[in-house]
């Protein structure tokens, strides 16, 4: 669409500029400022060019499709209201860039500042122009992030860091609430598209979810706009460089909250909940802010509290829910941005030229900087609502609305009085700003002699003050068409009649204005004595510090709670974690048991086989014995563990699972070898007599608790298993496997067909895991450092070596080599036999129990036996085993078998089979699954051997490191491979 490009450019240009600015040189102050100014200016011009269309009430759209199926697209839209806001963001952005060029010190990394500023501008424009609510929230959080960076720009300054962190915590938390609120709106409306949402006001207000939605959205808006009780972050954000305050805290960041409230005004407002929440928040903010502003000693602090109170005013107006109040709110948003930006800049100039912002030290500056003083006076007068300035017009509207009738309640009736009080307070603090700084006796001990700033630094203020004056004196000729377009965009057909004139006759609002003006002057005169004392903080609420509550909350949340939670669930200690895990598992499995009941099922029970009972009496004793002995008698525990494993293995045979039995038996062997190899590196643990007596009560309680937990888990498992075994087997996919194993997979051993054919992809995953584990073990052991007391050769070997040294006819190591000669000869002779068994198991695997897994483990046992028989050096001098190549070959084989199916146009790992007639052997099944199974075999051999050899090598390495005198043995195969 033709109108799309400019909108996109407005949002995207600042981000591009930000990126460019990050690549500028540290000292490129002029370049960066020029870049930022140009981009903001271009944005303003592009925006202005859209006015003819927008002014006619059209809504411009632009978008890029992202996930159309989910209704998530990058969309931009611009109506009269957002046009006005875009103008404000880009226009004031340009002035701030110009101002910052002079404000920032050449010593600071200025390009970074402008990069943040531009990115912030882009994010703000993103909020304003978003046509999609989710996208709006995204940009919303982006502004929080960039405001954090901007506030913390002088990061060497502790208060800047604290202020930035606080602003981020408060506004980003609000942003999260907003996100949830927006999701709720999307749920209610069925779309996140802003046009659709704006058209569904009645639907949203009528929804059951209206109240939570409202509260969540308000939490987002009120935190952003620093509304009570979240106002405390704004004064602390004043640690930012002044251009940032002038931009973020007048026209953009804090305005995002009221922008959102105005934007969603047609959707959310008009209910009692809206009225009470928003009006109370606005009223509290307005009074507290203006009251606190009077007593600030820091110029920027005064402006910050005044900003809070003016935002409260806008919030209050929006809360009233009447169209006229909304007009006033929009109008005041613009007016406040102009006079507050200029005041912040003036405060920055004062700080810059005199070296301090403390009102107690500043005095009589008029004679040094008359032009700046005059400009500041006009802007402050606009803030106080003096006639002929823009602030007066929107304040009159506010008074008129405050006096009008909305909801019959005490809150509504008291509004006019609060409004006058607020107005009087703002007169007082404006007077304090002007009188305290520019008048009175000349200041004595200023860090610098103040003087007028460079002209171009003052220019932005001049321009803004000019706007204040023009809008204030000639509203109908200046702001009226733009305001009218904005109001129409928000209110649509509800747009009320309003008049923008300086003189409406002598009416109620004017009377209120006069009372407030005189009241404010009198109050200032009365407070002179108190203010001269220079006491920090406002009276009556000095103790009430939002910041302190916030910090205490943070300490509680991020320190105390986090610490106790970490103590409870942290990863520092394994035992409590496992305890929790087991306890949770026990409790979680209780739930279905409770629902299904535990009584025995209907499946006919088999007759008790006494042999099976005997078998498990042995098995149970082995298991309990292993548990009992594992602490002090590791070898015994290992043997008992093997016993339990064997009984498990026999159970598999018993109940028709020969494949499992074979695999279990073989794995049992390698596991035993593995643990035996590891035992050597564990510390000695000797049972001292009477340890049980000395054991503390705490340890006893812990053991008791663990025993209970273990018993609960065991009994629970027993119950579940029994309940399961006595119920009939439901019809599962197994039927399909059995029926089709032969016809589709070409194998009679259904388990093997499942592994290599039906579920080949799963098996492929398993062998990959196996290979990964083996390589992990290998690399962990390459950097292995044993504990010092385990470095020496084992006791038996030491004795053998001592015997050799004592006998002149023997060389060291002879006894070790002769040790267990006969078994080792048998083991060596068995090598070919076991290999044949492995091949046999492998080949018959498709039709009879066996297969790649079992064959692989058998093969690795053959190799390990050679290591045990001859010793590591002996075997490696004769046989190069390259486990990593075995694994690589296996994986390659498995993958290529799978890919082979693609070649023939079938899905990955589809198998093909037929019988092949081999001479002398006969008919041999030749399925492609056999190739895959070979891959499994090869990976299993490689992985098992790699793990065991890597561990076995440790006893070679360490004595060498400990005794450097002995010549190093020839490099072993493993090392070369690595």
């Amino acid at each position: 669409m033709s109108s799309g490009m400019p909108l996109l450019a407005i949002v995207v240009l600042p981000f591009i500029g930000s990126l460019v600015a990050t690549f500028l040189r540290q000292d490129a102050r002029n370049g960066a400022a020029f870049l930022a100014g140009t981009i903001a200016f271009c944005g303003a011009v592009l925006t202005a060019a859209q006015y003819p269309a927008v002014g006619n009430g059209r809504v411009l759209h632009a978008g890029i499709e992202w996930i159309p199926s989910l209704g998530l697209n990058f969309t931009l839209r611009m109506d009269g209201y957002t046009w006005l806001f875009t103008m404000l963001v880009t226009g004031i952005g340009f002035l701030v860039a110009l101002y910052a060029r002079y404000y920032m010190s050449p010593a600071d990394p200025v390009p970074r500042f402008f990069a943040f500023l531009l990115a912030f501008m882009g994010a703000m424009l993103g909020i304003v122009l978003s046509g999609n609510l989710i996208q709006l929230v995204f940009f919303w959080e982006l502004t929080s992030l960039f405001s954090f960076l901007l506030i913390g720009y002088w990061h060497h300054n502790a208060s800047a860091r604290d202020g930035a962190r606080m602003a981020l915590t408060v506004t980003a938390t609000g942003g999260l609430c907003l996100l949830v609120g927006v999701l709720l709106i999307g749920h209610i409306v069925g779309s996140y598209d802003l046009d659709k949402v704006l058209a569904s006001g009645d639907l949203v207000r009528g929804s059951d979810l209206y109240l939570p939605t409202l509260i969540l959205v308000l939490l987002g808006a009120l935190t952003k706009s620093a509304q009570f009780p979240f106002h405390f972050w704004l004064p602390h954000a004043m640690a930012a460089p002044t251009p940032v305050s002038a931009y973020l805290h007048s026209a953009t960041m804090v305005k995002a909250g009221v922008f959102l409230l105005t934007l969603l005004w047609p959707v959310l407002s008009g209910t009692e909940a809206w009225f009470y929440i928003v009006v109370s928040a606005g009223l509290c903010t307005l009074l507290l802010g203006s009251y606190a502003a009077i007593f600030q000693q820091d110029l920027k602090g005064l402006l910050a509290y005044s900003t809070i109170s003016h935002l409260g005013l806008i919030t209050l107006l929006l809360g009233l829910g009447s169209p006229l109040a909304a007009v006033a709110a929009i109008f005041h948003t613009i007016n406040h941005a102009t006079f507050k930006a200029s005041l912040f800049m003036a405060a920055g100039i004062i700080d810059h030229e005199s070296g301090t912002r403390d009102i107690r030290r500043l005095s009589g500056l008029f004679r040094y900087m008359p032009i700046t003083a005059t400009l500041a006076m006009v802007a402050a007068a606009a803030m106080a609502g003096v006639p002929l300035l823009n602030g007066f017009l929107s304040k009159e509207m506010f008074f008129a609305e405050a006096a009008a009738f909305h909801v019959d309640s005490l809150l509504d009736q008291s509004l006019p009085y609060f409004a006058m009080l607020f107005s009087a307070f703002s007169v007082t603090y404006s007077l304090r700003f002007i009188h305290g700084v520019f008048f009175g006796p000349p200041a004595k001990d200023l860090p610098r002699i103040p003087h007028e700033p460079p002209h171009w630094m003052r220019f932005p203020i001049e321009l803004l003050v000019l706007v204040c004056l023009l809008v204030g004196i000639l509203p109908a000729m200046t702001i009226k068409p733009f305001l009218s377009a904005a109001v129409h965009a928000v209110l649509g057909p509800e747009t009320p009649y309003y008049s923008l004139a300086v003189w409406h006759g002598f009416n109620e609002p004017l009377l209120m204005s006069l009372i407030a003006l005189t009241g404010g002057i009198i109050l200032y005169w009365l407070l002179q004595g108190y203010l001269a004392k220079g006491i920090e903080g406002p009276p009556l609420m000095r103790r009430l510090k939002g910041q302190r509550i916030f910090e205490r909350l943070l300490v509680e949340l991020s320190w105390r709670w986090a610490r106790s939670l970490e103590r409870l669930l942290g990863t520092q200690r394994l035992q409590p974690q496992l305890r929790l895990l087991v306890a949770f598992a026990v409790v979680a499995s209780l739930w279905p048991l409770y629902r299904q009941g535990l009584e025995a099922g209907s499946r006919p029970a088999t007759a008790l086989d006494p042999a099976f009972l005997m078998l498990w009496i042995v098995g149970g004793i082995c298991a309990i014995g292993a548990a009992y002995q594992a602490k002090f008698h590791r070898l015994a525990a290992m043997v008992l563990l093997g016993g339990a494993g064997l009984v498990t293995c026999i159970t598999f045979v018993w109940f028709s699972a020969p494949d499992l039995a074979i695999t279990q038996l073989l794995v049992e062997i390698v596991t035993t070898v593995l643990i035996l190899l590891g035992l050597r590196w564990l510390p000695k643990r000797i049972e001292t007599a009477g340890e049980d007596v000395t054991m503390g009560t705490q340890a006893r309680v812990r053991r008791m608790r663990d025993l209970m937990l273990a018993l609960a888990a065991g009994i629970g498992m027993s119950l579940i298993v029994y309940a399961m075994l006595t119920r009939p087997l439901p019809d599962t996919i197994s039927r399909y496997f059995i029926e089709n194993a032969y016809s589709e997979g070409g194998g009679r051993n259904v388990v093997n067909v499942i592994l290599v054919d039906f579920r080949g992809f799963d098996t492929f995953g398993e062998i990959v895991v196996l290979a990964v584990v083996a390589i992990t073990v290998f690399s962990l052991l390459r950097r292995f450092r044993p504990a010092p007391e385990s470095v020496d050769a084992p006791e038996q070997q030491q004795l053998q070596d001592a015997y050799d040294t004592a006998r002149p006819d023997r060389a060291v190591g002879d006894t070790l080599a002769d040790y267990l000669t006969i078994p080792s000869v048998i083991m060596q002779w068995l090598f070919p036999v076991i290999i044949v068994v492995a091949i046999y198991l492998f080949l018959r695997g498709h039709d009879l129990p066996g297969g790649g897994f079992a064959a692989g483990v058998t093969m690795s046992i053959a190799l390990i036996l050679q290591y045990m028989a001859g010793g590591t050096r002996w075997i490696e001098a004769r046989l190069r085993i390259r486990p990593i190549r075995w694994m690589g070959l296996g994986l390659l084989c498995a993958v290529s078998t799978g890919i082979g199916a693609w070649v023939f146009g079938y899905p990955f790992l589809t198998s093909y089979f037929q019988y092949v007639e081999l001479p002398a052997i006969g008919k041999v099944p030749a399925a492609t699954a056999l190739l895959f199974d070979f891959g499994v075999f090869s990976v299993v051999v490689g992985a098992t051997v790699l793990i065991l050899i890597a561990l076995a090598h440790q006893s070679l390495r360490t004595p060498r490191a400990a005794r450097p005198g002995i010549p190093a043995p020839p490099p072993v195969a493993l090392k070369e491979e690595a």
């Binding site: 520092q572 035992q575 496992l578 029970a605 088999t606 099976f612 498990w616 098995g619 149970g620 309990i624 292993a626 548990a627 594992a630 290992m638 563990l641 339990a644 598999f652 109940f655 028709s656 699972a657 499992l660 695999t663 596991t671 593995l674 590891g678 590196w681 663990d706 025993l707 273990a710 018993l711 888990a713 065991g714 629970g716 498992m717 027993s718 119950l719 298993v721 029994y722 399961m724 075994l725 087997l729 197994s734 496997f737 059995i738 194993a741 032969y742 051993n749 388990v751 592994l755 398993e766 584990v773 962990l780 950097r783 292995f784 044993p786 039709d847 897994f853 098992t944 793990i947 561990l951």
Partner: protein, 114 residues
């Protein structure tokens, strides 16, 4: 009644395994994990119910009656579990050895309880 024996057996293995899992020494935890994996393997295997003399190896490939064979699916699951379990034991053993070398203790937390 073989079911009852089987169920109690799984329970004993689980209880011993869990007890060891909660002990402070790494070797105890390794043994515990192995016992627990026996229990879990038997448990999964038991999903196919207990049948004597009916291994899932087809005898007559022409007329197949699924009722004559034990459930092959849990067996296939357990078969890979056995091998993976070996890998897990190996990995854990090596981690505990490395941790013992680095920290000088075989306590699971890498430091003695105070």
């Amino acid at each position: 009644m073989n079911e009852l024996v089987f169920a109690v057996a799984v329970g004993i293995l689980t209880a011993s395994g869990v007890w060891l899992l909660l002990r402070p020494r790494t070797f105890q935890v390794i043994i515990g994990l192995s016992l627990l994996s026996y229990a879990v393997n038997l448990f999964i295997f038991g999903m196919g119910r207990l049948q004597v003399g009916a291994p899932p190896v087809l005898e007559n490939a022409e007329a197949i009656d699924p009722a004559l064979y034990a459930d092959p699916l849990p067996q296939a699951l357990v078969l890979t579990a056995i091998v993976i379990n070996f890998a897990m034991t190996a990995l854990f053993l090596v981690v505990l050895l490395a941790s013992r070398g680095l920290t000088g203790t075989d306590h699971v937390d890498g430091r003695e309880d105070t």
